[in-house]
């Protein structure tokens, strides 16, 4: 049986980007996607490419991802209709304006330039805004792209770079032993890989549970709407404090807006928008931009997103299983991050660490409800023997997420069994 360097579960944008980045570093990559690449959250989201307003912990990752967005054409052969139109976050009260001021202050540490626009100028610059707007914060670097194109474009580029992408194949179980991972598919086939990336999106906790570390991941179906084509006037991507409505217009004239949630059924892999949510979003959109009252809604849609209790994704090494890396639960704002997360995952696989701070996203922030001693893999035992506190003080620039105890234990094993490359502490690709 062929042993792949890396198996990726889930063909969303994160998985596709990881596949491409890994192939470019000469890893042998297999990606398993139950449906088609980018058919859930990655393909059906709003399409915002936005750094402004993110949790500060996400900003370094978002900054790195933004550099990839700028270079998309070179990387995947199409710009995926990405355009840096700017993102305008609007305040509807003085308190919200103060909130925007405060955020801009804190985001400065991350070199994110935000321009505050007061009540005097906001209507002069954006005369189509509704009366309720008192001001806003403008991020010129942000914009939007066509989500239907991005993950498939990364997938095609990854295939061209040598990835083995299998669509319509569902991974039903995976296990780990000293040789690496064995994945079993719904069609009865199996494959082996040295590393496993869990990029299963809303189903990420299912995969992490196979390795004894389920997390409280919920699901959410963003309620998305699009109008017919009207003359192009709404250049920036619009958001508001509180996030109950977001609006963008594409150059061909259609206005895309969202707000509220529809129905998500994780088991049936089915999501749909709701009429009453669409109606409310339409009212809010017209309130924001009254001119939209003349447009017609021609289509609504949704998809399933994984949502974590703290709104932050799970990214980084497993706590239980060496060679397992998680990247899921992007909580409704993973589209902009996706390309960058793929690059980070490549770092973790190839180098064992990344320069991009990701400690805040580690899976260990959720108390593991499973019986630790019963879970699989030597690292789990390491974790039970060594206190979690060693991970609590990881600062924003800590390069990687393996615990000291884990590293020590693995070094010992690697010494004892030099032929077993999976015990090598850094797991560099070169060694595999």
């Amino acid at each position: 049986m062929t042993i792949f360097d890396v198996a990726i579960v889930g063909g969303g944008l994160v998985g596709c980007s990881a596949a491409l980045h890994l192939c470019r570093r000469d890893a042998s990559v297999v990606m398993l996607e139950r449906g088609q690449c980018g058919s859930q959250a990655s393909g059906v989201n709003y399409g915002g490419v936005r750094q402004q307003g993110r949790d500060l912990a996400e900003l370094p990752l978002a900054r790195r991802s933004r550099r990839i967005w700028a270079d998309l054409e070179t990387l995947v052969g199409t710009d995926c209709e990405f355009e840096a139109t700017g993102h305008l976050k609007l305040a509807r009260s003085d308190a919200e304006m103060a909130e925007l001021e405060d955020y801009a202050e804190r985001a400065r540490d991350f070199n994110l330039k935000l321009e505050r626009i007061g009540p005097a100028q906001i209507r002069a610059r954006f005369p189509w805004l509704g009366d309720a707007i008192v001001g806003g914060s403008f991020c010129a670097e942000d914009g939007h792209a066509n989500p239907r194109l991005v993950a498939p474009a990364f997938a095609r580029a990854a295939v061209a770079a040598g990835a083995d992408i299998r669509e319509g194949v569902e991974v039903v179980d995976a296990t780990h032993d000293c040789h690496g991972f064995e994945l079993r598919m719904s069609d009865g086939t199996a494959l082996r890989a040295r590393r496993l990336i869990n990029a299963a999106g809303a189903w990420g906790t299912t995969v992490s549970a196979w390795f004894g570390e389920p997390v409280p991941e919920d699901v959410m179906a963003p309620n998305m709407c699009v109008t017919d084509s009207i003359p192009y006037f709404l250049v920036p991507n619009l958001g508001v404090c509180g996030g109950d409505i977001y609006v963008r217009q594409i150059r061909r004239g259609n206005v895309i807006f969202g707000g509220g949630v529809g129905v998500a059924d994780r088991n049936q892999v089915k999501a749909r928008p709701l009429a009453e949510v669409t109606a409310k979003a339409a009212r809010l959109a017209v309130g924001l931009v009254p001119r939209l009252a003349t447009a017609q809604v021609i289509r609504t849609w949704s998809g399933i997103e994984g949502v974590m209790p703290d709104g932050l994704p799970v990214i980084g090494f497993s706590e239980t299983t060496p060679g397992l890396i998680h990247a899921f639960g992007f909580s409704g704002h993973g589209f902009q991050l996706g390309p960058g997360v793929g690059a980070v995952l490549c770092d973790l696989v190839a180098d064992g660490s990344t320069q991009t701070p990701i400690a805040a996203f580690h899976i260990n922030r959720f108390p593991n409800t499973e019986n630790v001693a019963a879970s699989r893999g030597p690292a789990a035992m390491v974790r039970s023997a060594h206190e979690r506190s060693s991970q609590q003080h990881q600062g924003p620039n800590l390069q990687q997420t393996k615990t000291k105890g884990e590293t020590l234990w693995l070094s010992l094993l690697a010494d004892a069994f030099p032929e077993r490359s999976c015990f090598s502490p850094a797991w560099p690709l070169a060694a595999s």
Partner: protein, 459 residues
């Protein structure tokens, strides 16, 4: 009292309502049109008084009967005319009415949503002056206007001859009737067509009448290009005959259609499973022999569940209502169900002869569209872009092609371009039509003005 709803007030919806009322049930009937009758028996507005014989021809008696049946029900039903169902989810319908959006819950639902023209794009099909056959017929029936002074009728199917006849009989100078089906195909289908009885004889009459009045009727024709005049509107149709010779026919309008396709988006949103009908080359909702869908409380009737025509729609409308009553515990309808099923079966053979032989859908015409021909006019997607998505981008299925190219993503939601787009995709992938799937129904079923959602708004 359970909430029982019928969507559509054409022949199927009217007979369903009538049957329910007779059994003492009060249904709500939602219809997009201002008055009952559906597309086939569409009524002129009250301001236009015309003899029904003139409006409906041979169908006058049937039309009057359907209209009268519905008018007699008015006190015993809740009637929502001029109302469009835009969403359907979880036994709830979103309806846009004159007085704003409403929500209507249902316990039992009969879908009698009818059909629309099936279109094949050809060069010049988006020019002003090009209509669908159904559109041309509605203009005549509803508004007593013609689409032009010298229209050409192009396509295939019984409607082609019917509309051409109606136009000619109304005094319009018909420039030509071009049928893409060959004369040989029609002769070959004769045996099956005879099973249509009266319907078949009417068809023969239209054809004979057109010929007797010296109108050019051509079989085996292929459209090449509709040319525009200086005003930008259609001026001439270029076409080939069965031997490949080029012809040019001067005209000021074109009515085109290649049979009908079921309007089944609401069934789709209600999670009714679909099946591919090879004869009609379209996906249709699955029903059991009594008109039940595989969704609890949902029934199907009329052309929305496969094209069988108006006479069959009256029967299947009544059948759906009887099945519903039966499911509610009414006893006697079982006997009537048997009779209806027997009569409906008679239509099947005739229908197969029509669809699979006499007026076969020219799939090759759709599939062979030039690369630069615009297929999806809402979103401006060409045949070449579709082929590129199929061959280069890995779009092996119609919804994937939609995601990549925007085909079927616009105002019409693929109603118009869907069939041709699927033919092009299947052809360029070298797979059977069924293998590329069907465009998923999405809310809203028809465009909804944003203004309809504003508080207190009257759209």
């Amino acid at each position: 009292m359970p909430s029982i709803v019928i969507i559509g007030a054409g022949p199927a919806g009217v007979r369903a309502a009538e049957t329910l009322v007779r059994a003492g049930v009060r249904p709500t009937v939602i219809d997009e049109a201002l008055a009952s009758g559906g597309q086939i028996y569409r009524r002129p507005p009250s301001s236009i008084v015309r003899d029904s014989k003139k409006v409906y021809g041979f169908e006058a008696a049937r039309a009057r009967s359907v209209h009268r049946a519905f008018d007699d029900l008015r006190e015993q039903i809740d009637y929502w005319p001029d109302s469009a169902v835009w969403s359907a989810h979880d036994h709830k319908l979103g309806v846009i009415t004159k007085s704003g959006p409403k929500e209507l819950a249902w316990d039992r639902l009969i879908l009698a949503t009818g059909a629309m023209d099936r279109v094949i794009p050809f060069r010049g099909w988006t020019l002003p002056g090009v209509y669908t056959l159904g559109g041309a017929q509605v203009a005549l029936k509803y508004q007593a206007c013609a689409i032009g002074e010298h229209p050409v009728f192009l396509g295939t199917g019984p409607l082609l001859y019917l509309v051409a006849y109606q136009y000619a009989a109304a005094g319009v100078k018909v420039a030509g009737v071009l049928d893409t089906a060959s004369a040989g195909a029609k002769r070959g289908a004769l045996f099956g067509l005879v099973s249509g009885g009266r319907t078949f004889l009417k068809g023969l009459y239209y054809l004979a009448w057109l010929r007797a009045h010296g109108l050019p009727v051509v079989s085996g024709a292929r459209p090449v290009c509709a040319h525009a005049g200086l005003d930008g509107a259609v001026r001439e149709l270029e076409w080939r005959d069965g031997h490949g010779s080029l012809h040019r026919t001067a005209c000021d309008s074109i009515a085109t259609g290649f049979g009908l396709k079921s309007e089944a988006q609401i069934a789709d949103l209600c999670d009714v499973p679909f099946i591919f009908d090879t004869g009609q080359r379209q996906w249709v909702p699955v029903q059991d022999t009594d008109g039940r869908a595989a969704v609890e409380g949902l029934y199907l009737a009329g052309d929305g569940v496969g094209i069988k025509g108006a006479a069959a729609a009256e029967l299947s409308g009544e059948r759906a209502a009887h099945t519903l009553l039966h499911d509610l515990g009414h006893a006697r309808s079982a006997e009537r169900l048997k009779t209806l099923n027997r009569r409906l079966r008679r239509f099947e053979r005739f229908r197969r002869a029509l669809d699979e032989k006499a007026f076969k859908f020219p799939a090759d015409l759709a599939a062979s569209a030039d690369d630069d021909l615009m297929i999806c006019r809402c979103e401006g997607v060409t045949a070449g872009e579709l082929r590129h998505a199929a061959r280069e981008l890995g779009a092996t299925e119609i919804n994937r092609a939609k995601a990549f190219t925007r085909v079927g993503m616009g105002r019409c939601q693929g109603r118009v371009c869907g069939p041709a787009a699927a033919e092009i995709l299947a052809n360029s992938l070298g797979v059977p039509l069924a293998a590329v799937g069907r465009l998923r129904g999405q809310v809203p079923i028809k465009p909804v003005p944003m203004a309809a959602f504003l508080d207190g708004a009257v759209p």
